[in-house]
Structures are given as C-alpha cells and as structure tokens.
Amino acid sequence: MTMLHTINKSPFERNAFDSCLTHVKKGSAILLIEDGVYGATQGTAGATKLAAAMKDVAVYALQADVEMRGMQGRLIDGVKLVDYGGFVDLVTQHQNTQAWL
C-alpha cells in the first residue's frame, strides 16, 4: 500500500514540510500544492531535503500553484507538474491521502 501526501505550507513558515519528509515511506508520493510549492524551488534548504527524498519518493507539484507564485522555471529537476485532473489521478492511484496541514 502506498500513500499520497499533500503539503500546502511554505517550508520557511511552517513545520508541515519537514514533518511530512520525516513520515513519508519508500514508494509513496508527495504532491506540493498552494504555498507548498515553494519547497521545490532551486537554491533553498527545502529543495535540498526534497532532492534527497526523491530517491525513494515521487514528487509532484500542482502547476497552477507554481505559476500563480511565479515559480515556473525555478523548480528543481525531477519534480513532475500536474494539473487538477492529475491531482485527482494521484488520489485514486494511492491507497489513502494524508494532508499535512
């Protein structure tokens, strides 16, 4: 069984990002939405942690949230962009979803 973890908080402001990375298991997926997308931006401490986690975990980001924050072109390699339909697919493809609020 694998899980989908969603993160909607900036890694600079809240501990949700770090707490999620502590609890994500191999084979699971992380979807960054809302302010969570800042966690995948180049040149930040969060992205370094995320890159390390990406050996075991698939990382996605919601495209509309990336663009509304002007972060398009700034994400680290390996983060896959999805639209809202892709978000729905990730939910149905995983056994359960945990929102790191």
């Binding site: 502590t22 298991k25 056994q95 359960n96 979803t97 945990q98 790191w100 609020l101």
Partner: protein, 129 residues
C-alpha cells in the same frame, strides 16, 4: 481495500485521526476531538495519533480559568468510555518538547516516527487536524 463485512452489511474501516496542532491557540484540537467522539457511534476501527505540537493537546494540568475559555482537555480521559483506546504519541515530538509519558493525561502507546509512518500507511482513511 481492507473492508470486512459486518453482520449488518456495513463496512469496518481503519480511521486514523492525526493531531498535529497545539490546543487553544486554534480550534482544530477541540473540533478534532468532536469528530473522534462522533466516530465512536459508527463502530469503525479508530486510532488517534499525536505528533508535532499535537502532543500538547494531552498534557496534564491545563487550566483555562484565566483565559475564560472552556477546558476540553478532560474529555480525552473520556475516550476510553467510548471504546477509543488506540492512542499513539510520537517519541521524537515529545522529546523535542521536553515531555515524557508522565506528563500526559491519558495512557498512550509511544511510537517512533518510523513506526508512526508505518501506522499511517496501514490505514484506510486518514484525517489530519
């Protein structure tokens, strides 16, 4: 799905309520507890997890008189009467806050973060507050 059929034809699912926020500063802890109490009537397989600031929810000695707010912390003690007995607290979260099991209102099982991650993956429904 790990559904089992009950005699009535209902499903029994594993519900995990994850509490990550401190009590009082926001209402999430209190309203999470209200969900948990209601869930007891549905005869599901219910677990509660306290991680990060959520461990503060079940700290002893909460006294809300000075702030003129209702004290809901004794309600955690009532969970047992609703047959909600699977309470898990994360060790790393307690350690970082200088807390031990003796500081808590209710008997709990202490899990490491790794064990907590295993618990999450074994659930059908995870609600986070």
């Amino acid at each position: 799905m790990t559904d089992e059929m009950m005699e009535e034809g209902g499903k029994i699912k594993k519900f995990l309520y994850i509490n990550r926020k401190a009590p009082h500063g926001t209402i999430y802890a209190l309203e999470s507890l209200e969900v948990v109490l209601i869930s007891a009537a549905f005869e599901q397989d219910v677990s509660l997890a306290f991680i990060d600031d959520g461990v503060y929810e079940i700290v002893k000695g909460q006294d809300t008189k000075g702030a003129e707010i209702k004290n809901f912390s004794p309600t955690y003690r009532a969970l047992e009467g609703y047959d909600i007995e699977k309470l898990y607290v994360e060790k790393e979260s307690m350690d970082a806050r200088g807390l031990t099991e003796k500081d808590l209102l209710v008997p709990v099982k202490v899990l490491t973060a790794k064990e907590m991650a295993d618990l999450m993956e074994s659930q059908d429904v995870v609600m986070s507050f």
